[in-house]
């Protein structure tokens, strides 16, 4: 069985599934049917292609980072520049696709969760473009840390709902979005921001994000005539990594590396490395790896990058891990910050702190590979949002 054929009956091997309250089962079934219809409809594809090209600015470049390559003295490093997509991150690939789907399903109100605010902003952008009402749930802790993004969403005509429950962060904003959804099923579309949640969400988000991997494949072929040797992407919920990996799943010569956030170090317990240090569980509607205690309570996470700060991971990543198709590794806060500084100085690109984790691992990997080989790193977003965090981390005054 080809790996790209999954999900089968909503599952990736044993992972995935649909662990949600009964009240949602019908709506999720409808969503699945609507999505399959849309996927086959050339008119839907034409609309999506139009917005991706004219509004999002795709294709994004595949850029050879010559300075960094020279400095490391190993494999060539290419950067897939998702930071240049509208909104400054890959998130828009998914929100544009799902917002079009919501509109097609006749929904007028779109809800979304957000941690750092990137998915919230991308949802607000897509909804404003398509004339949909956007309501974004965001933990009060995150609202405080990311005040600029809260205001940005408001400017884009979205309503921001601060979430006071639980740890007041991303996982709680997801809980709250589910609670809103069960209350307002008739009018509301839940636009999930990563390859997580109950089936069909992990598949839908992967499919919309796989434009990243498809472009990499075509661009790399055009530049070199072949396939890259390795792909590197950061993993929180896992959407930019899944979008990067999926079109290459059956190309077994291409090594796939997912990089999680090791925070202050796996051994300190202050991290978000779900695949590296977690265990199997059922959380947010899916069977997957989670960070939990021995009683099955979900654990708090830590990462310098808010976008990787999530105690679960997309079920397809769990599947790629145990089937050994992909290798999951991690980078600590300090390594990510170092990579941020290096890429900024060497290449003139400020990467998002999330993407900096992928850059950090690529910097370790490249010197171990031949100069004739190539690595593609997905630069999932731009780092302008992280400048204050970097300043605080290195003790600089702005």
């Amino acid at each position: 069985m080809k790996l790209s054929n999954y999900p089968i009956d909503g599952k990736y091997g044993k992972y995935g599934g649909r662990f949600v309250p009964e009240v949602l089962m019908e709506a999720i079934g409808e969503l699945e049917q609507a999505y399959y219809k849309a996927r086959k409809d050339p008119e839907f594809q034409r609309q999506l292609d139009y917005y991706l090209a004219e509004f999002v600015g795709r294709p994004t470049p595949l850029y050879l980072a010559e300075n960094l390559t020279r400095k490391l003295g190993g494999a060539k490093i290419y950067l897939k520049r998702e930071d240049l997509a509208h909104g400054g991150a890959h998130k828009i690939n998914n929100t544009m696709g799902q917002a079009l789907l919501a509109k097609r399903m006749g929904k007028t109100r779109v809800i979304a969760e957000t941690g750092a605010g990137q998915h919230g902003v991308a949802t607000a952008i897509a909804c404003a473009a398509l004339g949909l009402k956007a309501v974004v749930f965001m933990g009060t802790e995150d609202c405080e840390r990311q005040r600029l993004n809260v205001f940005r969403m408001k400017l884009l005509n979205a309503e921001v709902h601060p979430v006071e429950s639980g740890s007041k962060t991303l996982k709680d904003s997801i809980n709250e979005a589910f609670r809103d959804w069960v209350t307002n099923l008739e009018t509301t579309y839940y636009l999930i921001g990563s390859t997580m949640g109950p089936h069909p969400y992990p598949m839908i988000v992967r499919d919309f994000q796989s434009v990243i991997g498809k472009e990499i494949k075509a661009q790399f072929k055009q530049k070199t005539g072949g396939l890259p040797d390795a792909l590197v992407a950061c993993v929180g919920g896992g959407s930019n990594a899944m979008g990067t990996f999926y079109p290459f799943e059956d190309d077994t010569s291409v090594k796939l590396y997912g990089v999680e956030a090791a925070g202050e170090g796996i051994e300190t317990g202050k991290h978000a490395a779900t695949l590296a240090a977690g265990s199997e569980g059922v959380f947010h509607g899916m069977y997957t790896y989670v960070l939990q205690d021995s009683n099955g309570q979900i654990q708090p996470t830590h990462s310098v990058s808010a976008g990787l700060d999530y105690p679960g991971v997309g079920p397809e990543h769990s599947f790629l891990k145990i089937s050994k198709r992909a290798e999951y590794t991690f980078a600590a806060d300090k390594e990510a910050v170092d990579a941020f500084l290096t890429l900024s100085r060497e290449e003139g690109i400020l990467p998002a702190l999330e993407s900096s984790h992928a850059v950090a691992y690529a910097m370790k990997l490249a010197p171990k590979m031949e100069k004739t080989q190539s690595i593609v790193v997905t630069l999932s977003g731009r780092g302008d949002k992280d400048v204050q965090t970097i300043a605080d981390y290195i003790g600089a005054k702005i």
Partner: protein, 268 residues
């Protein structure tokens, strides 16, 4: 027939509905839960639903979320909840149902957890984030350990799904009264009454029909029993009393349970 079903049938034979009371085990502390249960049972609760706290309760509104947090902060673990259940069972001949999310059960091992629950005299389980499609292992373990599996039906559940859910359920069917999460409301909507009338023919002669979510006053209980439900599930109304943790808490709980139970009798 399971002891849960028997209790409902017994009430029915007397012309009454059954009262199912929900509390969060460990709220405010695991030591106080048996005393709270005692007050509810003395007041007239026929079946006790014990919440087992989970960090991320997506089906619950603010009242039960806060109760879960208080219980977790008081050091409540799944094993402590089972011990509390056993303490209550040793004092009262009342069926106990554990209501929790799937992850704590899954984490300990479904078969192991259900086996332990049986040893602690638990009668059944409600797992709101486990739909029938994902419940194969759980159903098998429950059958092996002779525990009731109470599934939920919702306003959005089609007749076709309903048949599947009724077939998978034992003890009673838990009908969610409305779109939304748990929590007290001021009125029972007409749509809830219509919903009970739609669902009732599917459960009649098969399994008791219990209705929960938003049922908090004697009038609500009266309305849903009159509409055709066999039992009313009340949670947030009790938890609102528990969260104040006043010196007269147990008296208030008993009086509230008594008034709710009385309302199952006046219903026609």
């Amino acid at each position: 027939m399971s002891s849960i079903t028997k209790v409902v049938q017994k009430a029915k034979a007397k012309g009454n509905g059954a009262l199912i009371g929900y509390i969060m085990a460990g709220d405010p502390t695991p030591e106080l839960t048996p005393k709270i249960a005692d007050a509810l049972i003395k007041g007239g609760v026929d079946i006790l639903e014990l919440g087992l706290p989970f960090s991320d309760p997506i089906a619950d509104g603010p009242t039960i979320q806060a109760a879960g947090l208080r219980a977790l902060n008081a050091g409540t673990t799944p094993l402590k909840v089972l011990e509390v259940a056993k303490q209550i069972k040793q004092q009262h001949d009342v069926p106990i149902v554990i209501m929790t999310y799937y992850n704590p059960v899954f984490r300990l091992g479904v078969d192991k957890f259900l086996g332990l629950a049986k040893e602690h005299m638990v009668d059944g389980f409600i797992v709101p984030d486990l739909p029938v499609e994902e419940a194969t292992e759980y159903k098998a373990a429950a059958k092996k350990h002779d525990l009731d599996t109470i599934f939920l039906a919702a306003p959005s559940t089609t007749n076709q799904r309903l048949t599947k859910i009724v077939d998978a359920s034992s003890g009673f069917l838990y009908l969610v009264s409305r779109y939304g999460v748990t929590g007290a409301k001021t009125t029972v909507e007409d749509s809830t009454v219509q919903l009970i009338k739609r669902i009732q023919p599917f459960t009649a002669e098969k399994i008791p029909l219990a209705v929960g979510f938003g049922i908090s006053t004697p009038k609500h209980v009266e309305q849903i029993i009159a509409a055709g439900a066999d039992a009313a599930i009340v949670g947030s109304a009790f938890i609102n009393i528990i969260q104040n943790n006043s010196p007269t808490m147990n008296k208030e709980l008993q009086a509230t349970a008594k008034a709710l139970k009385a309302a199952t009798k006046t219903a026609k």
